[in-house]
Amino acid sequence: MTGLFSEVFLSALLFGAVTAAIPLLLAGLGEQMSEKAGVLNIGIEGMMLAGAYLGFVGAFYSGSLWLGFLTGAAGGVAVALVMALLCVRIGLNQIVIGIALTLGLEGLTALLHHFQFSRSYPRLPAAEVTVIPLLSDIPVIGPALFKQHLIVYLAVALVFGMGYVYRRTQLGLNLQAAGDKPAALDVAGIDVVRTRTVAVLTTGALAGLGGAYLANVGAGLFIPFITNGAGFLGIVLAMLARGRPIWVLFGALLFGVCLSLTTAMQVAGINIPTDIIQMLPFLAVMIMLVLFGRRASLPAALGIPYERGAR
């Protein structure tokens, strides 16, 4: 059993945890923004899939990972545009449209991938990592946390950036008002529909980026249904985080650890049926919901389309 505590094992576990956490983090941050503004974004899974597929295609044909992130984010925004149009502008039911978008994109990306690559799954070259000097020399933690792709550091920086926006800027006030009392925002002279649209499109960009990371960095390839519920985990994270980005980060890391245990245990050569190990993340979701579900506090107008002057 020494394998469990070897440096290699722990390092691989942590590295994997971070890799698994980043898409959840981006999805959670995105969902948080929509929810803050009063839009329950169930379509986020679909946005991630669009991002994963377009991100992979972009990177595959251009040979540039960064271009892939860009096309991935654009894919997420494209889906978000549909969501914003139907749910924010026209005011259709957010849950119904969200589910429809997710199911639609599952089918669409699988189909497109099949047309393009038939049954082959071409791989991208391994992503380049940015080594942070000194910090990366720390045993165990160093190689796991400080030898990551640049986008990982950017995603973590985003946590603090968004915290700043929410607490210190006029935009943050607008978003919160749009979710808690949209009529008050409207009579203060700020367009509620526009504010919510901005939030939903931002969600699309973040979810698309998360999907692209998942495909291009996490897996190095695209396979249909690759997100495998990451978007839904993002929704759980956003709901438990009480509007604070930092809690999304903690939650994403926790889930990341659970997800990476699967791989890490195989690396360490431990003999536990994989079926059991693969249940871990879902067990973690349930435990988290039981433990923290009560602290979820959602905006008062979440899920309710805004119509001026209606009552």
Binding site: D180, K181, V187
Partner: protein, 522 residues
């Protein structure tokens, strides 16, 4: 944002409404209204609930667009397209319903609306607020969360917000409802100072005393129509009492060519007959959101209609609910046909023949998603013959429902139609059919024609008269004085949860009731 600019020279309208009409499904909320709003004037808008005051304000604030007519700003016809536009025109509104974000602080709420890329300018705001609050004589906790403030404090914040914005037209829609008497006086003094600086103010209130004390000009709305105006010259010439009686005349006076006017048939109520309902010294404790009741006493004899008049929100609903058993009483007795029922449950009172038609037809009266047929028997769920051993007897229910639909002329596509799909008038008929069914002795109607169109209003009134003619005792609660005058044998007036007088419905009843309603002796 504009400040009190020189263009608004005294005497010229800042804003004028010309023939403005606004319709909502089934109702004309504003019916070609003309209104002039001038700098240097407090323009009081009076009218009962549902008169259309807030709708008018909604159009001035850019929340809604008129269906007909136009709004003229500074002499130019100007459609006010959005709240932002209204703010840019210098129109600041304190809405009737709270418009603060409860999860933000007071300061953050006041800052809402600034350019999104900026950091909130907290210091600037604090200085501005300090300046205003010192003249206002109030203290504002800038860093408290709005949800932690009392309703009165929230209202102060909203008034402050309109002032921070430098509006040149300030609209206050029932902004005194949550203020203390002292706060109201201060607000009145403040409005006076502001109009002296050249602002225009539109002040909406229910309270006639406030109107007479603070106003320069008064317009009275009634059921969407403007029924009268007292201009400043006249206002100054009259004393407070004269103004109030003139307003009463406008608000409650007989309208010419009123289609609802019906000759009241002379009914013979047997004065010697024993009362069917006898209420003595009934009292209910006040709650956070409802006034209490005190010393309510009256009798109703068989075949008699007793009206309850009063400005809405003075305890009418509490009275109806206390009698029906839905609200706990603290003292007093209720006797139905001689037997005390004040300790009985809602169901037992119904069983004994006490029936209550709520004014909340869809919320409390019916289950909107249930079919019409089931709604007829909601209060008999589980009881024979419509339910046997817990099983619904479809055939029995349908047979009786079809009968009731015919008898009460309910216009419904089918018996299975969810009741919420029917019009207000037909929902009312379903309620009538249910409550007037077997065994009714005393029937309480709460605002039975509120929100109905003319045809249904007349039909409902006829149904109520027929009920009395059958020898039942009727308690008719209404805020429509015409309705009471056309139907009742006697009219009691409720104010602040107490019956302040009972008047025989004779020729002078109109003025007597009107005076009682606003707190003057009959």
């Amino acid at each position: 944002m504009s400040s009190f600019s020189s263009s608004s020279a005294a005497g010229r309208d800042i804003v004028a409404l010309e023939g403005v009409t606004k319709r909502f499904p089934g109702i004309v909320a504003n019916d070609s209204i003309d209104l002039a709003i001038r700098p240097g004037e407090v323009h009081v808008l009076l009218g009962e609930n549902g008169a259309g005051k807030s709708t008018l304000i909604g159009m001035l604030s850019g929340l809604q667009q008129p269906d007909e007519g136009r709004i003229v700003v500074d002499g130019k016809p100007t459609p006010i397209t959005s709240p932002r536009h209204a703010l840019a025109l210098g129109i600041g509104t304190v809405f009737q319903h709270m418009m603060l974000v409860p999860t933000l602080t007071v300061a953050e709420n006041l800052l809402l609306g600034g350019p999104w890329w900026q950091r909130p300018r907290t210091e600037e705001l604090a200085a501005r607020v300090a300046e205003i609050t010192s003249t206002l004589g109030i203290t504002i906790k800038l860093h408290a969360k709005v949800s932690e403030l009392s309703l009165g404090e929230q209202q102060q914040v909203e008034i402050l917000r309109a002032m921070v914005r430098n509006s040149r037209l300030l609209i206050l829609d029932e902004s005194t409802s949550m203020l203390t008497p002292k706060g109201i006086d201060e607000l009145g003094a403040l409005m006076r100072r502001l109009v002296e600086q050249g602002l225009a103010i539109v002040f909406i209130t229910h309270k006639l005393k406030e109107a007479a004390a603070f106003g320069d000009r008064i317009s009275v709305l009634k059921l969407g129509r403007k029924v009268g105006e007292i201009p400043p010259e006249r206002f100054r010439a009259l004393g407070e009492q004269e103004i109030i009686s003139e307003i009463v005349e406008l608000m409650f006076g007989q309208q010419k060519d009123d289609p609802e006017a019906v000759e009241r048939p002379v009914r013979t109520v047997h004065a010697e007959a024993a009362p069917l309902l006898r209420v003595a010294d009934l009292a209910v404790a006040p709650t956070d959101n409802a006034p209490g009741l005190s010393s309510i006493s009256f009798d109703i004899r068989p075949g008699e209609i007793l009206g309850i008049a009063g400005i809405d929100g003075n305890g009418q609903k509490q009275l109806a609910e206390a009698l029906a058993g839905q609200r706990a009483t603290t003292s007093g007795s209720v006797r139905l046909d001689g037997a005390a029922i004040e300790t009985l449950s809602v169901g037992e009172r119904r069983q004994r023949g006490l029936r209550y038609l709520t004014d909340d037809r869809l919320g409390e009266g019916t289950v909107g998603t249930f079919p019409v047929s089931i709604n007829f028997f909601l209060k008999q769920v589980g009881a024979a013959p419509f339910w046997r051993n817990g099983v619904e007897q479809r055939a029995e229910i349908d047979k009786r429902s079809a009968q009731l639909v015919r008898e009460y002329d309910v216009r419904t596509p089918s018996l299975k139609t969810p009741v919420a799909r029917l019009s207000g008038g037909n929902i009312q008929k379903v309620l009538l059919a249910r409550e007037l069914a077997e065994g009714a002795k005393v029937v309480i109607f709460n605002k039975p024609t509120y929100g109905l169109d003319l045809a249904n209003t007349l039909a409902s009134r006829q149904r109520i008269r027929d009920t009395a003619a059958r020898g039942l005792a009727v308690l008719l609660i209404s805020t429509d004085l015409e309705e009471l005058l056309s139907m009742c044998d006697r009219i009691a007036v409720i104010a602040n949860g107490a019956l302040v007088g009972i008047v025989d419905n004779a020729d002078d009843a109109r003025t007597k009731v009107g005076r009682l309603m606003i707190g003057l002796a009959a």
